[in-house]
Symmetry: C2
Subunit: 257 residues, 2 copies
């Protein structure tokens, strides 16, 4: 996996420093002890200290300047980065009631394009799931999801008003680790307007996602249509880490409806 943070000593050093920052012992702009000092204080090697600092730097809590030192960043950078969350996790702590009303739950054979996209045989079974998402009983989004049935053959038999797709995927050994997301503004058509409780022509946010597991395999394609006045998409962009690879990237958009 990535270098993120596992490993006891590095994690511990990171934790202690993060605590000092969040408790205010270290304030934005303050200089941290030098790497060699921290090395002595924690009784670990300098390499370990550097791993902890690198982790904090990636998350924007600190930044280093060669020849000067390491400093606490302004808290603006300390907000959570881009995170891939299920719809449920995204809103679970914010709203009183999160519910899903299944609109369509069925299985059908994959088209040629879909087979190529998912890396499965043409005609292999795809599971298709459409749900109406509500928060506090207000309709917020229409969630349409498509994935190979082989990933978890029991999917069609579950109660989709309560089941979490991401939890099922993880349990099946396919942990969602990355998603390519695109959003655009459209006008609601009659069906969408009726489901979302608004009028045709009103603005909706259409988000298309392609979710991959750790091996890079595409496991879920989704199309979510949000009521424009009830959802806002947030993201954190970072300056490119100088990736000198040029990739054709084979643009494919197999679900434009």
């Amino acid at each position: 996996m990535t270098t993120s943070s596992s490993g006891r000593l590095t994690t511990r050093v990171r934790q202690v420093l993060a605590d000092r920052i969040s408790r205010g012992d270290l304030r934005p702009g303050d200089q941290l002890p030098t790497e060699r000092e921290l090395s002595g204080e924690f009784g670990v090697s300098r390499v370990t200290v550097r791993r902890a600092l690198a982790s904090l730097s990636r998350d924007g809590l600190v930044y280093s300047v060669q020849g000067r030192g390491t400093f606490v960043a302004a808290d603006r950078l300390a907000e959570p980065p881009n995170t891939l969350l299920s719809f449920h996790d995204l809103v679970a702590n914010t709203y009183v009631s999160v519910a899903a009303q299944p609109l369509r739950v069925h299985t059908r054979p994959a088209t040629l394009d879909e087979a190529e996209t998912f890396g499965i045989a043409p005609g292999a079974s795809l599971f298709e799931l459409d749900r109406l998402r509500t928060l506090d009983d207000l309709p917020v989004a229409i969630d349409s999801t498509l994935l190979p049935l082989a990933i978890d053959p029991e999917l069609p038999d579950l109660d989709w008003s309560h089941e979490s797709l991401y939890a099922r995927l993880t349990a099946a050994g396919h942990t969602p680790v990355a998603a390519d997301y695109s959003v655009e503004a459209r006008a609601a058509d009659i069906r969408v307007a009726r489901l979302l409780g608004t009028v045709p022509g009103s603005p909706v946010l259409v988000a298309e996602s392609e979710v991959s597991d750790q091996s890079g395999r595409l496991i879920v394609a989704g199309l979510i249509t949000y009521r424009g006045d009830r959802y806002r998409f947030r993201s954190r962009l970072t300056a490119g880490s100088a990736v000198p690879m040029v990739q054709p990237s084979s643009g494919r958009a197999f679900r434009s409806g």
Copy 2:
């Protein structure tokens, strides 16, 4: 030791491996040589090899499994990650003509909220820049930007039909490194519709951004209104890297118009 001018060793190793992948010597699913083999092949320590592999892993070109080995990821994960680009850079290679028509270029004192947001004194000068963005002479977006004049006092004197704001910021020692982005769907009002050449009520994508430099200081706040049918926002989400910090994050939205 090192043959001819050595770039960093880690970079060199990364580069060679990335080349093998992009040239097809190593294909998705293939196992890379072990870290110890690579260490010998390149004549560098295993730690250095691991840094190179970690870098490739962060960019999604490879992934490692403890006890098994390191493998080339499916190319889906090899697409460019979330990147912070100026509008100009974003589209420069795609369209024939990229142009900006200044709508408003002026300086005004900061309100109390704005002063707090930017970390400047109330009443300090803010530079405000509104531009109409066109691609191949078609209006695509209205770009409204706000930043402290102190960052570059020459800003008001420049020719904003050709000048690049990001380039100026970088030259002034404030490199944009991260941005918090939010997008939502709205209906165009009369002014927006007229500028974008559409009708009132048609869907537009409104993107709010807050850009920070390396020290975490907020340097630019932007509000871009795109024609819904001429823009799509793309992002790449990744599974949370376990950031155990909880931050109040003082939600402030000082420009909701």
